[in-house]
């Protein structure tokens, strides 16, 4: 488990991270999502002990990263951004070196290196020099170096940067696999990765932490964030009038009925006088023969309004032929979070 208590980091006058409270549990892939310069790398560097926080406390597997730095670092496997490695070394030699650094006994080094090579699809390049490898392979070498001593915590800074789509898919699968319970990690690993790519986080992470300007703006599962208080619901309705006549004759009347039924008497917001509670705005987006297409926007955090809207319109002689709830995406949540802060 990783716990951050009121963690801040200043670079001179610049506050890169400010008052971060966060708990990251094992068995889940947690994604730090934020634009460039949000403070993701600084947070990761503090968790791995490369930097010390200016204020606050970080504990990794119960060890304080400042006062028990060595013990904390023993629990961590870290893949820094751009996966730096000694270019002149051969892949297997480099991994043996990293195993030695992590305290793996010489007699066990070959076994752990073999396992990491096969886990990260590196067996075919084991004798190549790291500096001669493509970016994708170097990234895998970095990941192999991070996992080879079987750490309880994996911290991966932008792990899919520079990979092609096939490699990205493989990397995502591997990261999810690493979070699962296994030998030496009965509760699964803590896997923390950072990214500024929404699709990346959505596809890989069980939990998302949105960071902006050094502060945590939102945290939760993607479903929680999308359905959370900060997101606005959108619905598209197509309705048809039961009575005869063309829409051109009755269009104004139909629009008035729909608005009145959804927004309340006189189109007042908030469902006053018979409207549907939670509806914020009704916009006509199309009209046809006795038909009307409208977009309905709900209040932030409102429940699912589909049934309530269908009932309200049915009572006025309006038949709902299509009713679609457009779910808010993580991207909308993210943009909301960072625009609120701006």
């Amino acid at each position: 488990m990783i716990e951050l208590h009121d963690v801040s980091k200043r670079y001179g006058r610049v506050e890169a991270v400010s008052g971060v409270e966060l708990t990251i549990n094992p068995g889940l892939v947690t994604g730090l999502l934020g634009p460039n310069g949000a403070g993701k790398t600084t947070l990761m560097r503090m968790i791995t002990g490369y930097l010390s926080p200016t204020a606050g406390r970080i504990s990794v597997c119960g060890h304080d990263t400042v006062t028990a730095s060595g013990a904390a670092r023993r629990c961590i496997g870290y893949l820094p951004d751009a996966a730096p490695a000694y270019g002149e070394m051969r892949v297997d030699g480099y991994l043996r070196f990293r195993a030695g650094l992590c305290g793996v006994a010489r007699g066990q080094q070959n076994a752990v290196v073999e396992k990491a090579l096969s886990q990260c699809w590196l067996s075919e390049v084991r004798k190549r020099r790291v500096g001669e490898l493509s970016r994708g392979y170097r990234q895998r070498v970095g990941l192999a170096a991070a996992v080879l001593h079987g750490p309880a915590v994996l911290v991966l800074d932008e792990p899919t940067t520079g990979l092609d789509p096939g490699q990205i898919r493989e990397m995502r699968g591997l990261i999810r696999e690493l979070a699962r319970p296994g030998e030496g990690v009965p509760a699964g690993r803590v896997v923390l990765l950072s990214s500024h790519i929404m699709a990346e986080v959505e596809a890989t992470c069980d939990r998302v932490v949105i960071v902006h300007r050094g502060r945590v703006k939102a945290a939760g599962t993607p479903a929680e964030l999308v359905g959370g208080a900060g997101s606005v619901g959108r619905y598209v309705l197509e309705v048809v009038l039961e009575r005869n006549g063309t829409i051109s004759e009755q269009e104004d009347g139909l629009v008035g009925v729909v608005r009145g039924r959804l927004l309340g008497a006189g189109g007042a917001v908030g469902g006053a006088a018979g409207g549907v509670a939670g509806v914020r705005r009704v916009t006509v987006i199309g009209a046809g023969d006795r038909r009307l297409k409208v977009e309905v926007e709900s209040e932030a955090g409102a429940d699912d309004l589909r049934e309530a809207m269908a009932r309200a319109l049915h009572g006025a002689g309006v038949v709902v032929t299509e009713l679609v709830r457009e779910r808010a995406s993580l991207e909308q949540v993210f943009l909301n979070a960072i625009s609120e802060a701006a």
């Binding site: 560097r45 791995t48 490369y50 670092r73 002149e88």
Partner: protein, 237 residues
């Protein structure tokens, strides 16, 4: 244990890069010239005293060249981050780097043992001063490498680390001797005590003074400690 892991990698890296081989070749060329000029004089006693005495000036160039990449390169390429986030103490990193660099210096010195063989074949010299000379060169070289390691920790530029180390070594030696010439007693003795060249001269004469040994080891530990402090301070940057 981790110190040895780092030292092994460091030593190996000199032989995996062109820089290491160029340095070793340069070292051998310079030492060969010095040996030919100082120890192979007809009619002179069979000794390598002059050879070792000149070593100070060679080490002022060679040691910074060996040490310049030790931490500057790690900073430039970003490999310092995985290194310092491994469960390794800063002191172990410094000791490992220093041991690896000293090992490379020893590897460069090893071929010069052939000069001893040549001398032994020609004239049968007293081996005691020669062994003491090698001990002195290694002690001085390791001290200079520790100075270079400190400057290498302060910058990501190898060139800057090389130049800063070389100027520091030159100025400290010349400064110590100049100060000794101008300062009143007992300050002149204190200034003279900082002159490593004089201490190396004693080794070259075959005198292994424990004071000299302690001085070199303590000064090396001092610069090593400063380097560890620089690495530790980076975490609070």
């Amino acid at each position: 244990m981790r110190t040895l892991v780092i030292a092994r990698r460091e030593l190996g890296s000199y032989f995996r890069t062109a820089l290491g081989w160029v340095l070793a070749a340069l070292f051998l060329l310079l030492s060969g010239l010095v040996f030919a000029a100082s120890s192979l004089s007809p009619g002179e006693p069979a000794s390598m005293r002059e050879f070792f005495t000149v070593w100070w000036s060679l080490l002022v160039i060679v040691a910074p060249a060996i040490s310049m990449r030790l931490l500057a390169e790690e900073q430039r390429t970003g490999t310092l981050e995985p290194l310092l986030t491994s469960p390794v103490a800063e002191v172990e990193v410094v000791a490992g780097k220093l041991l690896g660099a000293a090992g490379f210096l020893a590897c460069c010195l090893a071929p010069t043992l052939s000069y001893v063989a040549v001398l032994a074949w020609l004239a049968g010299p007293d081996l005691g001063p020669i062994v003491a000379g090698y001990v002195g060169v290694m002690l001085l070289g390791t001290l200079y490498l520790s100075v270079g390691l400190l400057f290498s920790a302060l910058t990501a530029s190898q060139t800057l680390a090389f130049l800063a180390t070389m100027f520091f070594l030159l100025l400290s030696e010349v400064g110590a001797q100049r100060a000794a010439a101008h300062l009143p007693a007992p300050l002149d003795a204190a200034a003279l005590a900082l002159s490593v060249n004089l201490r190396l001269g004693d080794f070259a004469r075959g005198v292994v003074d424990s004071q000299h040994v302690v001085f070199f080891l303590a000064a090396t530990a001092w610069f090593g400690g400063l380097t560890a402090l620089v690495l530790r301070t980076r975490r609070w940057a």
